[in-house]
Structures are given as C-alpha cells and as structure tokens.
Symmetry: C2
Subunit: 387 residues, 2 copies
DNA sequence: CCAGTTACTGCAAAGGTTTGCAGGCAAGTA
DNA sequence: TACTTGCCTGCAAACCTTTGCAGTAACTGG
C-alpha cells in the first residue's frame, strides 16, 4: 500500500525514553540536554536534539512539575472577562509571564465569590501562584487560601499579602474636585458591587472630598458593575435631582448616559457624568467620557513580577528548593499605582443649561487634558511580615 | 509559646499518603474514595473523608494526569481578548466546561500566528484538547498540530477536523441586500486581517450579493480588526465616494464612524455603516449600530461539547484508554451556526441627504428588527474521515 | 608515573496518583 | 461441611521526569 511519505506524524507522543533509545544514551542524559545543556557534551547533545526533533519529542510538563514542584504556570482569576477593564490587564500579565517562560491560565468567576474560592483550589496544584483580581470574597478567606498557594491580590489591600492596587481614592477625589470646580453641588455616586474594596475606597474618598467642598453626595447602590447596571439607576438619578454623577466604572457611566438619554436628559448639558477606568470604549462614545484613568496594564505586569520574584525564592514541594534553607520570614510588598483624571466631553459647568451641543466651543473639540503626567510614578510601601 | 489554635493551616500540602496513615488504610483505598467511591465501604469512606477534610487534602491533579492521561483542562486560544467579540465565547466555553468538571485555560496570541503555534505546543501536554479560535496560521499547520493534541477549530473550516463556524456568508449577504434595498449602489467592504477565514467568506458572499444586485463593491484592506483599524480607513472611504460600508466587525465599524465624524461625514445621513458581530457595545454607541449578530456564546458551548465528546472516546497516553481498542476512524463534525441581521440606526436610505437627525422619524426610535428569528437553528454537516 | 582535576555519563530513587490483580472474609448455596 | 459468590482492601507496578551520587576516562601538573 502506498502511504504518503512526508507527514506521518507520531500519533502516540514520544517520551524521554524513546529519545534515549534512539540516540543510544541514558534517559538522564536526555533530560539534561533539555534542563541543563551545559552538563552534556556538545556532540552528544547534538545527537540527542536531532533524535528528539525527529521523534517530535516534547517534555511532559506535568511529569516535570511532579518532581520539581514548579509548573511554570500562573493562574489569573478575574471577576468578569466581559468587562473591558480587564483585558488590558490580562494581556499585560500574559506577556510579562511569557517573557519569563510562564503561561497564564485565565479563569472567570462571574462575580461569584463561591466560584472564586473553588477556582483557587482547583488551580492550586497546577500553577505556581495565583493572581487574584478584584476579589469579592472576605479578607480572612483570602488569607486562608494564601496558605495553599502563593497569592498576589490585585485591586484590594490585604494585610500580610502582596497586593497591587490603584489609587482610586486619589482618582475619585480628583473627579469630585473637578465637578466642584464646575460648580456642581449636588452629586450622586453610583457605587459598585458589594464586597469590592475599590468601591469602598471610592466612596470614602468621594465622600470626604464632597464634604470638604461643601457639596451633597448621594450614594446609589450597590450596583452590578455593567452597562445595564448603570442604566438601571437612571431613573433614580433623575429623581435625585443631582447635576453630576460619579460612577464606579466606565461601563456603568456609559450605561447611565444611555439611560438618561432615554429619559430625555442630556449629558453633559443636563447632567455631568464621570467614569472610572478609562477603558478604550470611553473614547468612542458620544459624548466622550470624562474618566479616571487606571494603569491596568502596569498592574498586570507588576503583579506577575511580584508573584514570580516571591515564587523564585521558595519552590514548593519535594526537592525543588535546593538553594539552602528558606526562611519563614517572607518580605511582602504592597504597591499602589497612580491614577489620572482625563477630562473629555461628558462634564460641563453646572449652569450649562443653555443649548450648546458640546463643551469647548467650536467644531474641533479640545483634546483631552490630563491633570497628572502620563509617566507612571508609583507609590511603594514595603513591609516585612513574619508568618 | 502561645500559638493561635484555630487557623494553623497546613503549610506543606497533605498527600494521599498522609490521609492513608491518618485513617489507617492503604493509599489505594484513599485513592478509590475519591475516584471510585462505590468501591469502598461507606464506613471506611466516611473515615477517610473525615481525615482528608481534617488534613486539608486535595488530590494532586498533575500526578493524576500523569497516570490517567487526562488533565481535565482544556485550552482556549484567542487572537485578542481585548476584542469584545471574544469574551462571551470565552464565558460560554468556561461555564460549559465547568459543568463537566473541566477547567479552561485561556491564552491570547495578539493576532500573531507564531505565538499561536507556540501556545498549542506549550498547552499540548497540560490539557486534554485545545479550542483554536479564529486561527491566523495555515490549514496545513493546523492539521499537523492536530496530531499532537485534539483540536476543535472555531471560525474556520479545516477539512478533516471538527469545526464550528458562523454563517457570516449569509450574514454578509443579508447586510448587502439590506443596503441594496435602501438604494445604495456604491458600497465599500472593509476587510479583516490577513489569514482570516471569516474575512474571506465575507468578501466572497458580499461580492456575489453586490454583483447580483448590480452594485459596485470596493474592497478596502486588509485591516487590523480594531477601532483604530477602522478609523484609519475613514479617509479612503471618503475618497472612494461610496454611500455605504460593510465592516469586517463592529469594532472597525465603530472606529470608522468615529473617523468619518472627524472628517465631517455623518452616519447614517451621509454614509450608512453595517458591522458584524453585534457586540454589546454596538447597542451603546450613537448611532446604534446596524450589524450582523453572530452566536458567539453558542459557538463556545458547541466547541466544548465537540471537544469533550470526541475526547471522552479516546483518552490519550498510558493505560487511560481501557475501553477496548480505539479505531483509527474518527467521526468529525462540522457545525455552522446561523447569523441574523439586526437593523438599528447606522443605516439609512441612500438619498437621505436631507437633515433628519435619525432614521425612523419621531423621537422614539424604532426597536431593532431581526430578519431571522432569534431561535438558533443550526446547520450541521456530518462527515467521516479516515486518518 | 602518579595524584588530582575536570568533563561527562549512568544509576536509581523520588514525586503523587491510579488500577489490575489477588487475597481475605462473610454470607449464601448445595 | 465444602464450595461459590460478592464485597472490600492491600500490593505493587506504572506514568515521565529530575537530580544527588558515583563511576569512568582523559587530561594536567609535578
């Protein structure tokens, strides 16, 4: 029977043993060819590599993980992938990880704290660490989970654990001050989901800023942090008789603008709206959204760095950690990244009831103006915690 | 020294051996307690479970994978997580997988064919199968990779492999016919990225439909399938002197609208624009986008089903496949899901140069009108391929 | 020529789990 | 009583790789 010659393709995966047999060396030599090339004779190495190539051999990471205790994977747990806030963070984490020969496994919890816990457990044994992003579960549960697998928390501060947060407090303050500067005195805050650290921070800072400026701040929520969640409170906003709104995130802000439009209220002429996050979308809507830019990509990168640095020190399990005794005292850092207010077209002076179509006058709208510089200076708080 | 009593938390993970020792049985009994409970005495089982709970034991999936050949993970390779087209697909795949006790590992390729191949290799040994979504690499490479790990292709048809696609051809045809019906005779097509099967299908169907209707179709591209990619061709669209545009996806359509706006052209008064995908965003922009709805969630679910069904039959490696001999002849199915045109506000009659602010007359805009029903009937093509 | 290096390579244990096989025991049958 | 049957459990091999240790050979310097 005539069989195609070229693409046979090994239907059963080749193991290290097959390569050893083919190249006439011991399996340990094959192993070293891949994991410690400098220990094997260049000539032998060449032969082994050739055979491996020929057989289509690829090291079995699961078996490797079993003995080294390191999987070279990291888990990334996300509340909602469909929220455009997250993808830049995911991509940044992924590319940072890939640079260090790590893979990222992303999992979505649908904003469900139960799913969160379950996923940490499920991932624990197949990753070297987990990035817990915007967790909705309790601090004590997070601490408990952190004993099962190295954790880095994003968008929340948990004592004793490495965390990277964004200074949304500062962002909310800037936003409120911006609104105050435009003459607004009755402002609403659309808060985020229950259990969100970020939402609490925003609420605290916005409240303080409003009080300091002599304005009245009405808190509406908690809300589902999506477009429909924002649209759902449009009616409340109208009844509340406020002239400006700060939303927990851009998605809600955009949903709100849509909802207000349906009620016949126009933004920014009738109501000013400020979002948080500066997702790509906020530049595409009309009016373009005034918002607080959060350095999501930087957060993703930083979190990976923190996890890997911390993780390189102490390999888990078996004989992996041969680099001397690992001391119990782990240094954990908490990083907070700066945020910037980006002023666009969804905010206007409180008295702007006149029929202007856009703030800023003529056809050519003014470019966005950043209050703080785009360079990303970070505030770092170091700390040492005995476990 | 006084130590807190409650939350000690085992710092070193308990193994099956620890549980065996604690409950006075052999490790195989512990193993069976988890993987084949009906084989162990209820009383013993209770004791084992109690000890396991106490010790915080969790089965090591890597070790299990090593021997069973099944990881209970599936990989999902995505061109660009930031493209809002994908998240619904990801979420659907994830929830479908979770129902069957599988986890999904998502990886992003940044539209890079090299990264695609690399990722398949990297994932091969740690997942039971890979969902390859909108691949940019060649068919022959895909076939080759499918010998290394079970593959299901999404948004592309590859002979001999299980595929799930959406009928974008039909969608493009409907879109063109809709535009023809509105009197447009000079239409532009913004094509997608090089290597995209979807883009080719759209082009072919749109071309045929335009020809049949006696219209002129100008193809612009290939383009980067993002908002900026769409904005970048606004100038070309103006010069092309067309009255309507069909874009490869919603993101490009929205970017284009933005770009046209900057050039002083208004949608739909001056130019009609149709997108494809019906991402959530397309309902939030102004004008709301006329677009072709693609059943992305259904695609995710279906792909997982196909992979798992196909995968349950033949476990890879070692002694996993003890259910008789697996025949070489694998049945592969190709599923194509139906698409619907959703008419919103970004399309208007070709002669609508008069100063209407919105099509459809009065303030209350007409609700979207679906040409095809919302039930998702699917066209299934079965096939048997000898390998 | 010998002792001491250096550069490779092989040996075998280990990692945590699954599973075919066989043994033990009690109940049921003849 | 002897034999069968069925339920439960233990034994040990196997999965694929890494790595400390030991052994070999060639080479260096004295």
């Amino acid at each position: 029977m005539t069989v195609a010659t070229l693409d046979e393709g090994p239907t059963v995966p080749a193991t290290i043993r097959d390569v050893a047999r083919a190249s006439g060396v011991h399996i340990s030599t094959v192993s070293r060819t891949f994991s410690a090339p400098h220990l094997v004779n260049p000539e032998t190495r060449g032969r082994v590599l050739a055979c491996a190539e020929e057989l289509g051999y690829r090291p079995n990471r699961a078996a490797r993980a079993l003995i080294t205790g390191r999987t070279h994977n990291i888990g990334l747990i996300i509340a909602d992938i469909a929220n455009p806030f997250f993808p830049p963070l995911i991509k940044a984490a992924e590319s940072q990880a890939r640079q260090r020969d790590y893979h990222v496994f992303v999992a979505d919890t649908n904003e469900d704290p139960i799913a969160e816990e379950e996923l940490v457990h499920a991932l624990a044994k197949q990753v070297d660490g987990v990035l817990l992003c915007s967790p909705r579960m309790s601090n004590s549960l997070i601490e408990q989970l952190s004993r099962e697998v190295p954790l880095v928390v994003i968008n929340r501060q948990v004592a004793g654990l490495p965390c990277v947060t964004m200074d949304v407090g500062q962002g909310a303050r800037s936003a409120i001050e911006h609104l105050l500067g435009l003459g607004h005195r009755k402002i609403a805050l659309l808060s985020g989901p229950r259990g969100s650290w970020t939402s609490r921070e925003i609420r605290r800072a916005a409240g303080a800023a409003a009080r300091a400026g002599g304005a009245e701040l009405t808190v509406l929520g908690p809300n589902h942090p999506t477009g429909t969640g924002g649209g759902a409170v449009a009616e409340q906003v109208r009844r509340g008789d406020v002239t400006a709104v700060l939303a927990y995130n851009d998605l809600m802000a955009i949903g709100l603008i849509e909802g207000l439009d349906a009620l016949g209220l126009r933004v920014p002429q009738d109501v000013s709206v400020v979002g948080i996050d500066d997702i790509a979308l906020s530049r595409l809507t009309r009016p373009k959204l005034t918002t607080v830019a959060t350095p999501t990509a930087a957060a993703g990168r930083t979190a990976v760095d923190m996890l890997l640095q911390h993780d390189t020190v102490a390999a888990r399990g078996s004989r992996g950690g041969r680099g001397g005794t690992v001391d119990d005292r782990r240094t954990t850092a908490q990083v907070m990244l700066q945020t910037d207010l980006v002023i666009r077209d969804s905010t206007a002076p409180a008295s702007a009831a006149a029929g202007r179509t856009r703030p800023g006058g003529a056809e050519d709208a003014p470019g966005p103006h950043r209050l703080a510089g785009p360079g990303r200076p970070t505030v770092t708080t170091g700390g040492v915690v005995a476990s």
